[in-house]
Symmetry: C2
Subunit: 229 residues, 2 copies
């Protein structure tokens, strides 16, 4: 229940060390593609990070996210083959120098990470009674993305690497994982203990791209690039 | 740089009190629709939570998220009118008893919260050189949702309420906020200091919906509701 406070009361922030922990997780989270260790995650920690995902916000409290935990080498091998097909197609779109650079990037850890997790969204669940999803039905799948980000941050705090593999055809995921046609594959994640976390994003370290400034993405009152509040 | 560790080294988790802080933010985060206080956020805290959003993962490091900070009463009033129109349409879809319950719910704090934030996604930015977005281009907008969840958790730790208003027509957001046609409005958020955080989701407390169990959303190896790992 809400505390029976006067209007002048204000909810307090977490204490400084706890706030620091939140920003530490956010700032040091990485998309991990290498350095996975063969030891499987303990059930305890696996359930803690899945609970973090499950406790994410969802439109109308519909909780549309489902988590397919993949540990068999056979299934991971099928996914890895699907990645290779999609990656060859993606690579073909780049010219010369960029293509060479692309080919040198390590973009997934499907077979090295002992756990893979396919996070899917069931947009047809009756839970939530449709609230909030009439005008922006895309908030259903956004709910699942919020769950993924919760898991990612909890995993970082637990010392667990997470890598999001987006170079996969959704059709392959449907087929290999027996996902019904109406259910949306949102993310395919590699999960595992790792030897280390990089201090910078891998794509920045590899010279693929730089990060932009915070001020360049904040606009005042309306969509007005170039201004700032 | 990666530390030159042996293969047997393992990245350590955060210390227990820091891990607790992450789970505290995740478990006590709420979608806040009431109890906003009139005092504006300090610039310091506003920039910290926007930086948390900006530091989210993005496909190919493309950083497509842009943040429109709305503080004027005039703009918020226009958005509030758009909410009212969308909400009347949504309400009309329910029958009798559900409609009455729906009408009693408080679903937004647009005028009470001194700051509103429209988070949008520019899918045409060249940043990232297209990496990772060939097979699943929807990961572009998912990147923006990750940013929103980062902001939501940082805000909770700062004692700041966040409410996601999904009962708005994207067309109204484009018009009122001058958003170019190719840019996607992803979320409209209310932000502010609050008197208190509820200990349960508002829709659960109001009897609209219950939360489901964690075990019911975890599947083993393939999409198999009813099994668990």
């Amino acid at each position: 229940m809400r505390s029976p406070l006067k209007n002048t009361a204000r909810a307090q922030p977490f204490e400084q060390s706890q706030r620091d922990a939140i920003y530490r997780a956010i700032d040091t989270r990485r998309d991990v593609r290498r350095g996975y260790l063969p030891e499987p995650l303990s059930e305890d920690v696996l359930m803690r990070i899945l609970a973090a995902a499950h406790n994410a916000p969802s439109v109308g409290l519909m909780q549309p996210s489902r988590f397919i935990l993949i540990r068999s080498h056979e299934v991971r091998s099928q996914i890895h083959a699907a990645f290779n097909r999609a990656n060859q197609q993606a690579m073909a779109l780049y010219d010369d120098e960029r293509r060479e650079q692309y080919a040198s990037l390590k973009l997934e850890g499907i077979l090295e990470a002992p756990q893979n997790l396919c996070v899917v969204c069931d947009p047809q669940t009756e839970q939530g009674h449709g609230l909030g999803r009439q005008t922006m039905p895309e908030t259903i799948v956004y709910s699942t993305v919020c769950a993924i980000q919760n898991l990612w941050l909890a995993a970082r705090a637990e010392g667990i690497g997470v890598g999001w593999v987006s170079i996969l055809s959704p059709g392959d995921l449907h087929t290999i994982l027996n996902i019904p046609a109406h259910v949306i594959p949102v993310a395919y994640l590699c999960l595992g203990y790792v030897d280390a976390f990089d201090d910078r994003p891998e794509l920045e370290r590899a010279g693929w791209e730089h990060r932009r400034s915070l001020q360049s993405v904040i606009f005042d009152e309306t969509y007005t690039p170039g201004t700032k509040p």
